[in-house]
């Protein structure tokens, strides 16, 4: 507890009163009898002073009608809480203790404020509710479209295209859609307004497509290489180092375009600096099942041996391998919060895993037909694609789902689908085009405009781009546990402490001095002994000096850190000799 910050002088009331009677009014007297005779701080007395600090008594409410501020509910505070605070006993000086306490107060305030703003999230996601005797599975898209409002109904559409099986992806704010047909048809458009950005045929087979950090750029994995186009369809880059890419994923916070190839290569391309951060041969054969874990930005690969492997650009070997099925994995997806991972295998199994602990399975399902495609929505609905059927499941992670929430049957087989963020829409790419399905309650109704703004203007987009570039996370930080960066490296710390401790006990080396045999009369044994002593002393001195230097090194390193930036004219300064 810090020192009391009282004024040194307390005006003595009695004296003041007498003062008023006397003619001299410009003289103030201060009682100094209670002035402490010993120095401040570091003493028990000073700590005692803080004990009898004024205790703030709560005044009784003068108007009991109004209860005052509404208290923020505990659950909400719990939701936003950042964990236990700093124990102020563990801070060294009272000044720093006070500062840290102040900071803790601010943190608490921030948490409360965040909990309070929950009131502003007025939107809530709905869902289909069936009458008794009915199931939601019965509802067809036609019925749904007929029953929803006109703006929602407009979100259901069907594009009949004939350039092979289509892959489709939405931007992070869910506003723009990119589709790529197997036979080279690539189109980008604002799917809400149906405004086309560009449409072209790349005259090569298209294996995958991916938006980059903004909607003005996208990457297309073509027959042999990956190309980057802008939203007008102009080819910006051709990346030949990424060849025969089968699947692509974009990591928005790291600006990494991750891709896996038919030849078993996994690569990360930093699109902000145009360099490949890591490219490794997985030695696991053809890779075609790829997804990202949005929680920690690792890549999840599904393999034919029923194994899911997790990768980061820093390591040649996978961070972890998990045997999920006893059959080749067909589909894999991680939910947007990074809690659950769904895998499906060719043995008609579907499993839900706890991906944070790499644990599970949480749920196990046996399907009638193996699911080729999986996708989680923001509200944790899971879409399964089997042949030409799409099924959507609600609450299938924590509890075992009984039946599908929605089902839709296409004419042609499904090649890919994805839920649209912040919309109740599932975009399905099929062999004969693209269909946008309405899945009530799939999207997040409240969006954070600082994170992803569906109604972003051009200037906002530009600002967001700059900000996100400034806040770019380095690829080295991709690990299984993203919170590890906030930890202290305890083994190294222990080693350092140990080394420093040992330095104290280090003994000077023994020196065996053997004098040269000199001619007789040049010096007796006394002189030899003296020389020996001198040599030994010198060695000892040298050693001690070095030791002291080593001991002080840490402090000097810290102190020398804030160096002046090098000036142009510094080259003319006399050079400092290095020791």
């Amino acid at each position: 507890m810090g020192k009391q910050t009282v004024r040194y002088f307390k005006k003595d009331e009695s004296i003041e009163n007498t003062e008023e009677k006397s003619p001299k009014k410009d003289v103030l007297t201060f009682d100094v009898t209670r002035v402490k005779k010993k120095p401040w701080g570091r003493r028990v007395e000073d700590r005692k002073i803080s004990k009898d600090k004024k205790k703030v008594k709560q005044k009784s409410n003068p108007n009991p009608k109004f209860k005052g501020k509404v208290k923020v509910p505990e659950e909400l505070i719990e939701k936003y809480s950042k964990g236990e605070g700093v124990d102020s006993k563990g801070i060294k000086t009272s000044v720093h203790r006070k500062r840290i306490e102040k900071k803790e107060k601010n943190v608490k305030f921030a948490i409360e404020q965040a909990a309070k703003t929950e009131v502003l999230l007025t939107e809530c996601s709905g869902f289909l509710e069936a009458d008794s005797g009915e199931t939601t599975t019965q509802f067809t898209q036609k019925q749904i479209v007929q029953n929803v409002d006109i703006s929602a109904a407009a979100k259901h559409f069907d594009l009949r295209l004939n350039f092979g099986s289509y892959r489709a992806k939405y931007t992070r704010n869910g506003r723009h859609l990119l589709i790529g047909g197997r036979m080279g048809h690539v189109a980008a458009f604002d799917w809400v307004t149906k405004k086309l950005h560009c449409e072209m045929n790349v005259m090569e087979s298209v294996h995958d497509i991916s938006w980059l950090h903004i909607e003005t750029m996208f990457a297309v994995a073509q027959k042999s290489w990956v190309y980057i186009y802008d939203n007008q369809g102009i080819e910006l880059h051709c990346i030949k180092r990424l060849n025969k890419v089968s699947r692509m994923e974009f990591l928005p916070y790291h600006f990494l375009l991750a891709s896996c190839s038919d030849e078993g290569y996994l690569s990360w391309l930093d699109i902000s600096i145009g360099q490949i951060v890591g490219q490794y041969n997985t030695h696991l054969g053809r890779l075609s099942v790829l997804t990202q874990n949005p929680w920690n930005a690792t890549l999840c690969l599904g393999h034919a041996k029923g194994v899911v492997s997790f990768w980061s650009p820093t390591a040649r070997e996978p961070l972890a391998k998990m045997l999920c099925h006893k059959a080749p994995i067909l589909g894999i997806h991680v939910d947007p919060s990074g809690t659950y991972m769904a895998t499906s295998a060719s043995n008609r199994e579907l499993k839900i895993w706890d991906v944070r602990k790499l644990d599970g399975p949480v749920q196990e399902y046996k399907l009638i037909q193996a699911a080729n495609h999986l996708n989680f929505s923001q509200k944790r609905m899971l879409a399964l694609g089997m042949g030409n059927v799409v099924e959507v499941y609600r609450d299938c992670c924590a509890t075992a789902a009984k039946r599908a929430y929605l089902r839709h049957r296409f004419v042609t087989p499904i090649s890919n689908f994805s839920f649209c963020p912040y919309e109740d829409v599932l975009g399905v790419g099929t062999a004969s085009g693209f269909t946008s399905l309405l899945v009530p309650g799939s999207g997040e109704p409240n969006f954070d405009t600082l994170e992803a703004n569906p109604f972003q203007s051009k200037s906002q987009r530009r600002e967001a781009e700059v900000k996100s570039l400034l806040e770019k996370v380095q690829p080295e930080m991709i690990t299984l546990d993203p919170t590890a960066i906030a930890d202290v490296d305890i083994p190294t710390l222990r080693d350092k402490v140990e080394a420093k401790k040992n330095l104290l006990y280090l003994k000077p080396p023994r020196i065996n001095y053997e004098p040269r045999n000199k001619a007789k009369g040049k010096g007796g044994t006394v002189k030899i002994a003296r020389n020996k002593k001198i040599v030994q002393e010198e060695a000892k001195k040298e050693f001690v000096k070095k030791k002291m230097e080593l001991m002080q090194e840490d402090e000097t390193i810290e102190s020398s850190k804030p160096q002046k930036p090098v000036h142009v004219l510094d080259r003319f300064l006399p050079k400092v000799k290095k020791k």
């Binding site: 004024r7 009682d31 999920c324």
Partner: protein, 741 residues
Amino acid sequence: MSDDSDHFEFSDQELDDKGHDKIVENVLKLNKVQHVKSPHRTEPTTQISEFNLVKSLSGHQNLVHLNELTKVLKGRKKHVEIANKVKSASGRSKTLPKPLEKPQAERIKRTLNYEKSRLQFDRWEALVTSNRAAPQLIFPLDHVEKLKIIEKKAEVYPSTFRLKSDLQKKLEALEPKSEEYHIDIEEKNEFPLTLEELKEKRKEAAKLRAHQSYKEAKARRQNKIKSKKYHRILRREKIKEKLKEFELLQKTNPEEALKKLDDIEKARAEERFSLRHKGTGQWARNKQVRAKYDKESRKVLAQQLSISRELTQKVKPTDSESEDEGIESSNTSSPTSKQADKNNPWVNGIKPDKDVTDFVSGYRKYWNEVNNVSNENNNNSENANNNESKTANIGVTDGKIKKYKIKSDNKEVKKLEKTMQKKIKKNKSKDADTSQSTSDWEISSLQNELRSSIDVEDVFETLENKLNKKLKQKLMKIKTNSKTKKVKKSTTKKTSEKKKCDLSLPSRNKKQVIDEEMSEQTKNTTDDFNGDNNPDLVTLKNILANKEKCDEPVNINPDKFIKVKQTDLNTAIPDILTIDENEEEVNQRNLIMEAFEDDDIATDFDKEKAEEIEKDTPKDIDLNLPGWGSWGGTGIDSSKRKRKRFIIKMPPKMPRRDENKGSLIINEKAQAKIKPLLVSEIPFPFKSVKDYEASIRAPVGSSFVPETAFRRFIEPAVITKMGAIIEPINKSILMGKKIQI
């Protein structure tokens, strides 16, 4: 040194033996080292160097004792009296203690100064800490009214000279001790000088300085003139000028003129009691030499003497007042005293209260001694003074006056007072004329005094001198006593402290002071895992084991406990299966695999995991050379001793994170890649890892916290108002009232 002392001893014993001395000297000369010679007194001189006396004083044998000297005086009756006096005096007085060594005295001074200044600085402590801890400071710090604070030193300081009596101390204890300050609310100088005004001011100052220096030079020049004639002329001129001025004053301002007259009279009086015109100067002596033969010089001398007589003649009082008042006014005291006389209660015959008189008399006694009164007519002026002070004191609180009393001195003072009174009484008894007594105080008439003026004066002077001397001695004694006491106390304290230090020294040696901070950290870090601070490998193992224990509930294989029940989903049967050109053949294989779903995959995975573990565990190093010193070959195991000696065992690997998870392999090497990015030291204000980690747990950025909270996080530590002058902090911030802005 020892040689020297020996030499001295010899010389003392055989003082008369000059030959021996010579021999010794010769012997010493042989050594060619110059020795300090003992001081010899060859001629009787009035001044004896104190340096030569030191030696003899240090030894006890050669001391000259006063008693021994007085023994000689036994012969005559008069001398016996003196001897007794000396005896009594020596009984009463003690030799002063030796003054402190300079470094010691300095040290005491320094410690006192340090204490004082430390207390002064402590006043700032609270403010400084609060400012340092404050999240935001807005400069200039003017939440406080501006005060001009001056300590009332000029009024308080003189009182520190006097020792306080017991009563005074008690009174002070009753009243709270207070520090007084003049505090004026400072007016802001809103319109400082313009440039032109400043220039003008500077110009004036320069002019003044030039004028001053010119005057100084002139005065110096004039002072150097030695001509008597010049000086005489100068003096005359001055006198003339003054007379003129006086005449002018008489016409214009009679009151001022009266004052001036007083001054002139005072000057005359001074001249009168000085020895001027008495024929003792150089000029007069010269004249006296010549007077025998030269008439003129005789005449001049006579004139001179007559002047002196004229000057020393008492001026007859001009007013015809009553006798008593005449006595009072006849002295050459200042007119203020005259005025005071008119309303003198004692002189007017009104007797004051007994208490008051008692007090005043007591006070008076002391006052006499302390204030070395230089006036000859001590009594009268004192009386006047007494009146004044009395009138003043009745109104004021008594405590202030009692301050002046020194208790320890009281007895002495009374004694002295008595003797003095006796003497005065003696004088009076000779001509017991008109003398009025108020309380213990005698007032003798001035006319008597005039007659026996010389005697009385002499007596008073001698008495005063004695008194002064004694008082000084007393004061010195008290001071030194207090000093020595303090010194003793401090020394004892120091010694005790030293002793304590000595006791603690060995233990301190063992501590590693340099590494204190770090060791503390280790303690804390280890505390997080394990209470032990032992750096041994065993403890490390323990630590790891502990960690594992902590993680255990997490790592329990769920397969063992909760077997998730497989739910059959009634999914739709698709009409068309996915037909992917690439995947077609794969699917084919998948079908086959599905048909023969066996544990091949599981066993493969287990094998892989085992390999991984194998690869990760460090292997023992075998330095054994088969066949070296013993038979080698198939079927021959090396001896147990050799195995023990040549196989270096690796420490057991820490348990893997995936140990209990059957279907998981975690690559720990890849996990370690983040290590260089982690903090491996605990930064300054934190003591433990936990606290440091807690301090960086919460995000601060605007994208993570609400805007209002974000603003609080990024509040600048210091705000300076644009264009405002930031003045250094002063005392008013400690004392002034807070101004609400």
